[in-house]
Every structure is written in structure tokens, then in C-alpha cells.
Symmetry: C2
Subunit: 406 residues, 2 copies
């Protein structure tokens, strides 16, 4: 599904499934109802006659349904194009691959930026709490509508891995296997902490206006701050050091004894004396500021609040095992592959190992791979085919799909 | 210097040293001039006749000169009271201990919140860039005014450690030894990244008003966000997990399947459905929000910008060794004790080890202790005497002062 040079690009189109119109609203984990609900999704490859060759890909916090191929006019493929296509790890000559945008997001699925049919206005904060379980339940409705009752695998990284875990617990008869990458069964307090700082930054922004900023031309700086924090946690200290080396954005060396000014003005005159603006003097500052600005253009601040909250709430052990992950994992019938990255400061290898352990004590089939990487949490989203992480990840997924009992 | 029960408390008073009035302004590393400059400081114990028993304590980012004892009417002692006093690690029966508030701060020393005598208004962003070297140079002026030309030791944690290193390089003949705790010779890009997110949060705050918020009753939420980010990095993942355990602030267990609402209202009516406010449902969220609010009351947002920037700029290797820390450390004549904490995610043991290595290759006297701790970067500021970290730290400082050649 890579763009063949000189050839017309393979074009994929988003599809939409709408359900839960009154009086059959979608019932959320909280007991609240919402409807109608639209789920945006994309598919790659062909569903076989028995509808038994489907793979469900589950995206992370800010992801979308556009996994592979190109949208009309785009020159950049979907976010996991490296892994999905003919002959790739998830071989579309063999599998029917599907990915849907999560409930609560802003890429075509119903979320806080969607219009509430009851009011004719965007939901904003009147959107109900959604959970990882709700996201999975909405995906189940989509599969039901297609007639898929069996999945070869559920696969995802980060929040996608949390959904994969939830799939094997909420619908243990559906996925024959699960591939959980750089993920966990419950966020640590530190992860909740990073999330809450992001949410506080969004809420502190006067332009956020209690979530009712839609239709106005707002630059939500709070969302940019939240993204900057996120980005630090997606990388690693080592990876950042290698990438930025304390370089200044100007290209000059940082020499603390050679602080440069735009104007050589003695402070007593009262002029501002910082060379830049307290924002982007070092290369790493410029990088983060750019990431923040880019994110504001593409993502909805309220979706950020709801989805991070869904991640914070999720606790597989609490939900399915009375607090015990071992107890929870009794339910699963899937064969598992867990993958973590050594330098992941967000979802550490230890969090993956805890899941492996909980599966092993239940005599479940489980494989675990810890990939040596400097690229931190984001290692599963590296864009270059040649990156070692991609080679190992690709091979691991391929092998697992070939040799597992599914 | 602990408060004896039933006895009048030992009261210490801040002192002030002012210098650099026109035309003899203080010349900063940047070449800019500022004056007059006031430095707030406190002293404990008695200076001996030869003025050879002085210890200089160097505080961290948001610290002040009030290290030990009590201010009139306070019931909480200074920030390192555990380490300074009769019979303590820095024994005031033996040593004359001094600590000054850094240039650029807001606790009595000249900083952006000080009034610029030329304009009669607070400096704000017209305050010149200050560096770690400038802070040290101002401390030197203070010592000169007292007639101290020799220090038993310079000691500090975090940014205090950076100042201690700079002391041994800028004034190699003054400190006979240096104790550098949880510190580094230059921030990593990841540390600069955390700082820049904090600075961006301050600047994004509309109430910050380009730094001209003085005299107005402002709640600088941006500064609170910056502090929240800081606090995450001062703790460790493990320490946080142990402290908060994914508890909800309400005391109820977090059960993702039992999301609680203030009102059980179906979302279709448009009411807000989050139980709390996206801010402080989990205990860790409440803790961080509280820390942020508390900080805004006690610290100046502009000082936060300037001091974090000073930390980012500092690079002992670039400044004194043409980029080589080994080369830089040739200059030092001090005997070193370096201490790090295993779980410090901000200033890692590896950063201390790099300094140790640079000293060793120059055949300098250096001891290194890596303290096993779950308490992260803040381990050197733990308030309970009984904490293991305090016992080890206290003993290490005491032994070093007793047995080093000084």
C-alpha cells in the first residue's frame, strides 16, 4: 500500500457507521446514553467469505482510522502504513484489516466536537464520560454491523494496547489473539500526573471558554502546552540528547558565557534582554513548540480531555478482577504477544511484564518481546522502514500471526 | 537549631548586602550591567577569627536563604534545618554557615520583581539575563564584604549543585571542597524540555501580561502549571505509585466501571457529566493542583522564567573546557563529594557519574555516593529526620567534612 513512484496512488476512503439513534441509544459504561453515534473507520484488504480473516487495529490517544494507504490528494500515507499492506506484517493479501476512530475523538467519530442533535450545537462538555470499555463496545457494534464475530487479532500501541486488553476481557470469544505494544493494564500515577497537567493547561487557557470554543477562530495555547508535555514523555532522555545535543536553534553552539542578545542594551534602560523569547532558543524548545502548534491545528481540546480521562480511568484489574490483574486475566481466551521498548518512560517494560506475569500464572499463551530502543514510547510509530524497531516489530507481528494457533 | 519544646525558639533574621550602585554596577556574564544589587542572606554559627570556618550553602530553583532555625513567629524551620545546627552534619558549633538567595530570585535578592531604580517600577522582563556564573559572582561579592576568602565547602542540591561546581571553576582558590547533590554539569535536553514547557505555560497565561503583572491581584495559573510539571519530575514513578496508588481523592476506590457522577443525568440533556472537573479526581491530581496553587502564592513567575533559563544555559564543559568536562575540571582545586539518588528522573546518577569521571581522570580527590531511594530528585529535601535518605546524607556530609583534607 506504499505509493508506487509514478503510479497513481492507492486511494482509501473513510467510511462511517451510525447506530444508536433514539430510542435505541448506545448505553455507556456509566449508565448514561448517547445517540446516534457515528464511528469513522477504514478497511484494507478483502473480508473472506466466512468473515474470519479480520484484524482490528486500535489507535492511540491522538490517532485516527487512517492506518494505511493514501487519502485522495495526500502525499503522506496512514500512520501505520509500514505495517499494513500487501506482503507487510499485516498482509492485506491475506487479512481484512480494519481500524476505527475511537468514540470521543475528533476524526469522524462522535465526540465532544460533534453536534448534539438535541441542541443543534456541539456537545462540548455536555458530552458524556467515555471509557476504554465504551470505545471497545462501540467497535463491537461496528463489527456486528459488518457481520464479523471473530477477529484474528486485536492490535494496538499505547492506548490502543489498552483497548486490545479490554477486547479480550469484555468480549473474550471474539479476538483469537491480542498484540499489545508499549501499553499497560492501568496507567501509573505518574502517567495520570502528566495527563492532569495537560488537562489543567487546557482548562487554564482563557480561550478554551469552558469547552465552548467551537466555531470561533481560537488558538488554544493550553492544548499546545498539553501536547508539549505529552511529547516529552513520548521520547526518551537518551533519544532527546542524541537528537538535540543541547544545540541552539540558531545553529550556534550553546556557550553559556557567550549569551547573545538582539540588542546590546544595558538593562538599566529597561529593554527586554532575552535573545529569543523564553520559548525557543534551544533546538529542543523549538521542536516542542512546533509540535504543540501543529497539534492545535489537528486535534480537538475537549477530545483531549475526554480521551486522556478515559485512559486514566482504565484499570483492567479493578474492572475485571476485583483489583487483581491475575484474576482479571482468567477471563481472556486470546493468545497474547506483548511488546515493550526499553527506553519507554511512559509505559515502561515493567508494566508490560506485569501483564505477561498475570497471563502466565493463568497458563495463557503469551509471548513477550522487549525491544532495545532509544526512541521511547513513540518507537512503535517510527516512520522509517529502516529503523531497527520497525524491522523487529514487523517481524514479530508477522511471526506471531503465522505461528500462533489462530 | 531545632525548636526546643517549651523554649523560646532560636530566631534567625534575614540580612541584606547591597553593592554595585552606580557607577560601579555589577557586570554580568553577558556584559550587561545591573546595580545596585541586593543579596539576601542568613548565617548560622560564628565566624572564627581567621575567617576560615565558613560553609556556603547554595539553594535550588525555588529556594531561599532561610536554611535553618526559625523566623520570628514561624512554626516551621528553614528548608535544610535537618542538616544545619549544633551537632548536625553542618555543625554550627564548629562552622559558620551562610546561605544567600540567588540573584534573579524573589526572596529578598534583586530579581525581576525588584524595583528598577531608574524607572521606579519593577524590572519585569527588562531584568537582564542572569546565569549560574552571575549568581556565584554575586555570592563572591557578599563573601568579600564579610572578609571571607576561603570556604570549607560549597554545598548544594540540584541548581545548588550547579552553583557549587561553578564555584570551584570560577573561583578555584576559594572553596576547599564541594558537595554536589542530585545535580549535573549541564542540563540534558529532556530537562530543558520540561523547563520550556513550564515557561511556555507561564507565557501562555493571559494574566501574565508580558511580565507586567506586579501590583495586580493575579492568579497566575501558568505558573501553577509550570510547578505541576516540575513536581512530577521531582518525584519518581515508583515514589508516586507508593504515595497515591491510583487512589481517588474522594477516598473511594477507582473502579473504571463505577464512574461516579454528581448528577445522574443523561448526556442528551446537555449537562456536564464529569464528576469532578477534569482537574482533581485522582489523589495525584489533587496533590499536584495543590502544589501549583501553593507555589503561585510564594514565587514570582518572572523569576521562574529567569532562573530556569539560567539553569538551561549552564554548561560547565562549554564554559570552562571548550566543550570537554574533563578539560574544564582541570581548573578545580576542590575536593569533591558527589551524591545522587537512584530514582532521580531529573538529574540522574549518570549525570553525577560523568562529573566523577571528569574529576578522576584529572586525579582530583572525589568521592561518590549513590543513595538508593524511591523519592526521586527531591530526596535531598525530605523533611523527616528518620528518612533513610536523610540519615545517609547527613552521615555522608559529616564524614566528608571530618575526614577530607580541608
Amino acid at each position: 500500500m506504499e505509493k508506487p513512484p509514478g503510479n497513481p496512488q492507492p486511494v482509501v476512503k473513510p467510511q462511517f457507521f451510525t447506530f444508536g439513534g433514539p430510542p435505541n441509544e448506545f448505553i455507556l459504561e456509566s449508565g448514561q446514553k448517547i445517540g446516534p453515534v457515528t464511528i469513522a473507520y477504514e478497511t484494507y484488504g478483502e473480508l473472506n467469505k466466512d468473515k474470519t480473516n479480520a484484524i482490528l487495529i486500535l489507535h492511540a490517544l491522538s490517532g485516527d482510522a487512517h492506518v494505511a494507504g493514501y487519502h485522495e490528494g495526500d502525499n503522506k500515507p496512514g500512520w501505520w502504513d509500514l505495517m499494513v499492506g500487501p506482503g507487510k506484517a499485516m498482509d492485506t493479501n491475506k487479512y481484512f484489516v480494519l481500524c476505527s476512530n475511537v468514540l470521543g475523538s475528533c476524526y469522524g467519530s462522535t465526540g465532544p466536537s460533534s453536534v448534539n442533535p438535541k441542541t443543534g450545537k456541539p456537545y462540548g462538555l455536555s458530552f458524556p464520560v467515555v471509557t476504554i470499555s465504551d470505545m471497545v463496545k462501540a467497535q463491537k457494534a461496528l463489527l456486528d454491523s459488518i457481520g464479523i464475530s471473530q477477529l484474528v487479532t486485536v492490535i494496538g500501541g499505547s492506548m490502543g494496547g489498552m483497548q486490545a486488553i479490554e477486547w479480550t476481557l469484555q468480549f473474550p470469544d471474539v479476538p483469537k489473539s491480542a498484540i499489545v505494544i508499549a501499553s499497560c493494564a492501568a496507567l501509573s500515577d505518574q502517567e495520570i500526573a502528566f495527563d492532569t497537567v495537560g488537562r489543567n493547561a487546557i482548562k487554564a487557557d482563557t480561550e478554551w471558554e469552558n469547552g465552548e470554543y467551537y466555531g470561533r477562530d481560537k488558538k488554544l495555547k493550553g492544548l499546545a502546552i498539553a501536547r508539549m508535555i505529552g511529547h516529552i514523555t513520548y521520547l526518551s532522555e537518551e533519544g532527546m540528547a542524541e537528537k538535540f545535543k543541547r544545540r541552539l536553534q540558531s545553529g550556534e553552539k550553546n556557550l553559556s558565557y557567550k549569551i547573545r542578545y538582539e540588542k546590546e542594551v544595558p538593562c538599566t534602560t529597561g529593554s527586554t534582554v532575552f535573545d529569543k523569547d523564553f520559548e525557543r532558543e534551544f533546538a529542543v524548545e523549538s521542536y516542542l513548540a512546533y509540535q504543540g502548534e501543529k497539534f492545535v491545528k489537528r486535534f480537538d481540546a475537549n477530545s483531549y480531555l475526554y480521551i486522556t480521562k478515559a485512559m486514566d480511568y482504565y484499570d483492567a484489574a479493578a474492572k475485571w478482577g476485583g483489583g487483581s490483574l491475575k484474576q482479571a486475566m482468567k477471563r481472556t481466551k486470546a493468545e497474547f504477544l506483548l511488546i515493550s521498548f526499553t527506553s519507554d518512560m511512559l509505559f515502561s517494560p515493567d508494566q508490560s511484564k506485569a501483564i505477561v506475569e498475570a497471563l502466565r500464572v493463568n497458563n495463557k499463551d503469551v509471548s513477550y518481546i522487549e525491544i532495545d530502543s532509544k526512541h521511547g514510547h513513540d518507537a512503535f510509530l517510527l516512520e522509517k522502514k529502516t529503523m531497527n524497531e520497525n524491522k523487529i516489530l514487523s517481524q514479530a507481528i508477522k511471526n506471531f500471526l503465522l505461528h500462533s494457533r489462530v
